[in-house]
Symmetry: C2
Subunit: 595 residues, 2 copies
């Protein structure tokens, strides 16, 4: 009973009114001809596909799950047909390179489509999502043959792709990985080892699967500097890309998971499989890191998309369910009880979802636009600026939105009371699906260390300083905006407090590196609330210019809610991040007891 209606009004508001992305396209060479009208027609087609084709398969896919049968993985009913339609209509290559079968659309537009796919059917969206990442990686690192064969096949929706990183003994710590790559006389390699948690590692949607596998040569240096990347197709191909024989590899089993049950999560055995080196030897991690920002951003979008879906399905219930009277007296005396949306805390839960989803959407679309700037920016300086800002944002976007997705999808269930716990209603699936997002593509803890350890301390906060300058400019522009004072003033306070806290933590980290680990998650959450405050202030200022439109009125109310009810959480995170490492590390390990 989950319904999905693509939030086209808000997506257009964000892309056209708030970010004005297309105003930049003439300066971004390859995107120069992307007009707002063209973008809108893509958005509208995507809205139809996701609400009409993908959404109806979301709950049935969860109920059926994937089925492993002697190495073959069957996806749930309808998945294959939906993928065929997706491919036939060109969605697979939407943002792919025009040289190799893609349509060359802006990544910001692609991410709007990613949101719709993830809201309507997160598990299904994993198949094209991972494929797109693989195509991007091959585009960035591959040679001409690899691009013309593998990238093209993925962009044309004929094949899909995977990333094979994790092994049983190494997840976050890839330096430990053991999979072997032995050189073969013909220039290829023989890949041997076991990879786990491989999303879309095996399935029945496409005729071939392109695995990007991290492995070590026999004489490679230890640790992360001895890891290379290989293309290992499920079916080998000849020089022209024509499929030949089955490669020496297979899916040993699939995982039974809490959620995204219709996405196959595979254990892959490589038994001397033929692989082709992609990118330079021993630089496999660097090849992978090229796409780290987009992979993490897309997980942030998945999280935001689950919040949106939960809001969309909790709201009608809150309007229709009659239960008790408002504390201030009956609002619908004609009915046996008031709809529960009259109760302040039901509204608090719904507004939390709305506030996080909408500012999260702005943050994700802006991050995606920075990817476009990074890829197509005319000058080195412009590309460097976009890269620095994006690198700062990425762990915040991924870490904060995924953590908030747990709270916000739980809110959706809570609005439905007992019905929220029943599978038929679907709200509980959204929580189960969202729950993976704080884990994969780097846990919240990894994001937090990336933010505070790498982007702030090591990179001396270069991206953070760009962002503070943007905030300062906005505050300056709105110094006399009396109508927006309630949003501008707290943002101005944040713009003082946030860097002050950052400097304090930086100093503490000089004395003791463990202070980074002790403060990092609270710092990440604080930063997420601060970034959301920035978007809500900006959206409110814009909305104040159209005070008669219901859409814009809702923005102003939501901004007010955000500043009054959610932003105060920064106080708790500020205190906790300053508490120091001692309360975490002084307790000897042996005192962690099951009493």
């Amino acid at each position: 009973m989950l319904n999905y209606s693509a939030p086209l009004t808000d997506l257009k508001f964000v892309l056209h009114d708030l970010l004005k992305v297309s105003e930049r396209y003439p300066a971004l060479g390859a995107l120069a001809e992307t007009t707002p009208d063209l973008m809108d027609s893509v958005l509208e087609e995507a809205a139809k596909f996701t609400s009409q084709v993908l959404a109806p398969l979301n709950q049935t896919g969860d109920a059926q799950g994937c089925r492993w049968d002697n190495g073959v993985v069957h996806t749930p009913d309808g998945f294959k047909e939906a993928f065929a339609q997706f491919s036939a209509n060109g969605w697979a290559g939407l943002v792919g390179s025009t040289e190799h079968g893609g349509m060359g659309m802006p990544y910001a537009l692609g991410c709007a489509v990613v949101e719709m796919m993830a809201s309507s059917n997160m598990a299904w969206s994993m198949y094209p999502g991972l494929s797109h990442g693989a195509a991007e990686c091959i585009h960035a690192n591959g040679d001409d043959w690899q691009r013309s064969v593998f990238e093209r096949a993925i962009n044309e929706g004929r094949w899909t792709g995977t990333m094979c990183l994790t092994e049983p003994h190494c997840g976050s710590d890839l330096g430990l990985l053991k999979t072997k790559a032995e050189p073969h006389a013909d220039g290829s390699y023989r890949i041997s080892g076991t990879k786990i948690f491989i999303s879309a590692g095996e399935h029945d949607l496409a005729e071939n699967i392109v695995h990007l596998v991290l492995a070590r040569l026999p004489d490679a240096p230890a640790g992360t500097k001895g890891i290379s990347m290989f293309i290992v197709p499920k079916f080998n191909v000849d020089a022209k890309g024509v499929i030949t024989e089955r490669n020496q590899m297979g899916c040993g089993s699939i995982e039974h998971k809490m959620g995204i049950k219709a996405s196959s999560t595979c254990l892959m055995n490589f038994d001397g499989a033929t692989g082709w080196l992609i990118g330079p030897l021993n630089r496999g991690l660097n090849c992978m890191f090229v796409m780290m920002n987009t992979a993490r951003l897309e997980v942030g979008i998945q999280a935001q998309a689950q919040i949106e879906a939960s809001f969309q399905n909790a709201l009608p219930y809150a309007r229709e369910r009659l239960q008790m009277r408002a504390l201030s007296g009956p609002k619908r005396p004609d009915k046996p009880a008031d709809p529960i949306i009259v109760h302040p805390d039901v509204r608090r839960m719904l507004l939390t979802q709305k506030a996080i989803s909408e500012a999260g959407r702005a943050q994700c679309m802006y991050s995606a636009h920075l990817v476009d700037e990074l890829r197509h920016g005319g000058s080195e300086a412009e590309r460097k600026y976009a890269d620095e800002l994006l690198s700062f944002f990425t762990p915040i976007t991924k870490g904060f939105l995924t953590e908030m997705a747990l709270e916000c999808t739980a809110n959706g269930m809570q609005v439905l009371g007992g019905h929220g716990y029943i599978r038929e209603w679907g709200l509980e699936q959204l929580l189960r699906d969202a729950r993976i997002t704080t884990i994969y593509e780097g846990t919240t803890q990894i994001q937090a260390l990336d933010l505070l350890g790498r982007k702030i301390v090591q990179a001396q906060g270069v991206g953070f300083r760009h962002f503070l300058a943007m905030i300062a400019e906005f505050l300056q522009e709105n110094a006399d905006n009396a109508a927006a004072k309630e949003f501008i003033e707290p943002l101005a306070r944040l713009a003082q407090e946030w860097p002050a806290l950052t400097i304090k933590l930086g100093k503490a980290a000089m004395e003791n590196p463990d202070e980074i680990g002790a403060a990092a998650v609270d710092y990440l959450m604080y930063s997420g609330y601060a970034v959301h405050a920035w978007w809500w202030a900006r959206m409110a200022v814009l909305a104040l210019q159209s005070p008669k439109s219901p859409f814009h009125q809702a923005k102003i109310h939501t901004a007010r809610f955000y500043f009054e009810r959610l932003l105060p959480r920064t106080d708790a995170h500020a205190k906790a991040m300053q508490a120091g490492a001692a309360s975490l590390l002084d307790m000897p390990e042996e005192l962690f007891l099951i009493a």
Copy 2:
């Protein structure tokens, strides 16, 4: 792969050293002979039963779930045998009245057993849990026949019981209920209607099921003042309690839920079933409310028990999983990586679980002891005091612990990374099972309105004032306790801030009753952190007296963690609760749009 080891050391610490419950038993008539040794032997037997019999059925029960087949409900493999053993060993009547088949043990001891059962197998524990509630209700409201037949059969573990309140159109708002009760010539009633979400409404564990059903007589007043309670057995019984024919009622279906899948959640159809009035006519809700405190307390225990189970299963993984090095340098240079327990944020997640579980246990056991005081206290004044304090605590215990269970069971998954999302490891089940606790027996929202609207505003905070007096006395006693200063000082600040905030909200509520609903959940969460601060201060003061014992050292470290890292969250809740109703209610309902 979930393991369970009963936390006997901590349960004994709480009951004997912290609460010293048995020192009060000589003054509590019926409990006078309950010695600490007797209590310990019960705890140890319960530890064996829960870890050896119930824990191994927890994941298999989740995987199989209950099965409905033409009105018959089959519980998962092993459930029936476990229930038979439970009954044969007298557990069903542990705290039941000695007059009617029970053993008359303290409820505080019973709740220690409830924790173990819920940690080891929450779904299984629902069957005896609901039964005990029904027996308690019959004991409080029934006539001699009802007690000697139904209460006895439940205490002897031969039959089980249910509460049938919810109907499709009424959950929180029982005034809307429609089930009919028509008087019959023989003094019985004919019950007709549909009840939903009935836990243990049908199953194969016992020979009969005693339903306590809320229904209306044809001429009853509208709303909550026209509701009566009826005993409706699955099989009718004669005057001596011997089973006769099947009653006119049945289970129409069972729900497919997010968790507690092995607990049957039934739709019950009453088709002119024979029922017996219990308690006075039209006073059914009052009969039910007698057991509200214990039912809600036991849900709080379920939540705390899931946190405990999650901690127990995350901790060994954190110790064994080798991944990356500590930021301050290798801690296990002999190994390829350090165990992840060296990372500060892994410790933060584990310590959050430990801090909430252990103080939550103290709070639950103390609340259970107040039930003993209420039932067996020698003087009216003592019983009144216990009732007032318990009534204040109950919504906090239930509301706070269940909300924290979402965070803490999510932490347990997070410690395991990708493995946390895989069903085999079991951590995700604990989150799914815990997720119901914020919903049933009154949602968090209902608890919050009960706390702020009823216990604070309507009852003028009488229970709150008792608690503040206890805190004041403790602060006085420890005014010169230099070693405990780090715990005493912040508690003293809370003891000022909490009542000041309460008075402020009370005044706002006089002006506008919606202010209660707007502040209630933040007030509840603030109160939960405050209550936990009280327990951690008390446990720390006690632990400081045994500084050489590892158990007590761990208490001191955990107390320090609690005050430095979790208590600051009260700041955010204090701000949010003072933000007022406007940011929630000013937005017109029609602006809640799916954009």
